[in-house]
Symmetry: C2
Subunit: 161 residues, 2 copies
DNA sequence: GCGTTTGGTTTCATCACGCAACCAAATCGA
DNA sequence: TCGATTTGGTTGCGTGATGAAACCAAACGC
């Protein structure tokens, strides 16, 4: 049977994962955020098989996360560049990196750190905050049906804790 | 060939994806955050095959994202509950949800919204901020080797844009 | 004009995913 | 107390996805 897709679920998490949840896909986006643009560079930096890379890049272009720009005079030399939609995945990648830093490598063993170029300071971790920028604890958060909710969601209002 | 694992890459994003990047895994965590605890409930709410769910739950328990608690008097009735490590994935799920809200459903069509119980207000989107809580634009962010960097990383210092 | 680089595609073997059937222990209902 | 049902799985089988290596054509560099 074909792998089940999540595209029909009425849930933004599922929809997002349907597009970027494939094996390798987010690592390709991470490479793109670090400046990689060409097929051969993605391939050698990630150690991904060429046929898989080819499929993933195609899918990322179809979904307008990358665009394939023709460079080179008259033919086939291409650059894959992030679209605004793709650049906006920085938050997702950041959340994943920070989680790995905290729970796998541990404080003081981060392979990569992010710095604010203007001040030179390290960028503090992402937090869920209120309008004033103050952190909100999970037990104070409540999930509830939004304007695009379907019937199954309507019964589920839950505290996130 | 077996699917390649990312566990040996010196990168927090790759390590995180190695653990939670499997098809279905983050949706199971999302369900857990919404309060689901039992096998049959995960199965019916997600529409996932039982053998796959079984494997994913096992892996999540091995990786200490869920714990399997024995409920019921004298035997086999179990609850899968999030550990602190698992609860900390809320940021990742939130980033994914918000990306999907922005780029797939669009403003005003969110299936689910998150509210601050104390104030009743909607929770604003995650942002990468400096120490004062002010947003930092991507072009002001720079990735550079951290304390746990290996040699391949040492040459790569990049602006994220 | 010729070798090399780039950006793939093809082939084949292996593994993961999905469905349905099956199952044993625990619990529920009468 | 005994049979039915619920819970939490496992097993078998078919199909699609993944990975390695070989192959290839068009562009580019000299």
């Amino acid at each position: 049977m074909a792998r089940k897709r999540f595209a029909d679920m009425n849930c933004s998490v599922a929809q997002s994962l349907d597009i970027i949840g494939d094996w390798w896909t987010l690592l390709i986006v991470r490479e793109a955020l670090l400046g990689t643009q060409q097929f051969a560079d993605f391939q050698s930096r990630l150690g991904i098989a060429k046929n898989i890379l080819s499929k993933r890049l195609q899918r990322l272009v179809e979904n307008e996360i990358l665009m394939r720009v023709d460079i080179g005079r008259s033919g086939s030399r291409f650059a894959y560049r992030l679209t605004p939609r793709g650049k906006d995945l920085l938050t997702v990648i950041t959340a994943l990196r920070e989680w790995g830093d905290r729970w796998i490598f541990g404080e003081g063993n981060e392979p990569v750190v992010i710095r604010d170029r203007r001040t030179g300071g390290l960028v503090p971790p992402l937090r869920i905050t209120d309008g004033e920028g103050l952190a909100i604890e999970a037990r104070h958060l409540r999930a509830e049906p939004g304007p695009g909710a379907t019937r199954e969601i309507l019964e589920r209002t839950r505290t996130l804790d």
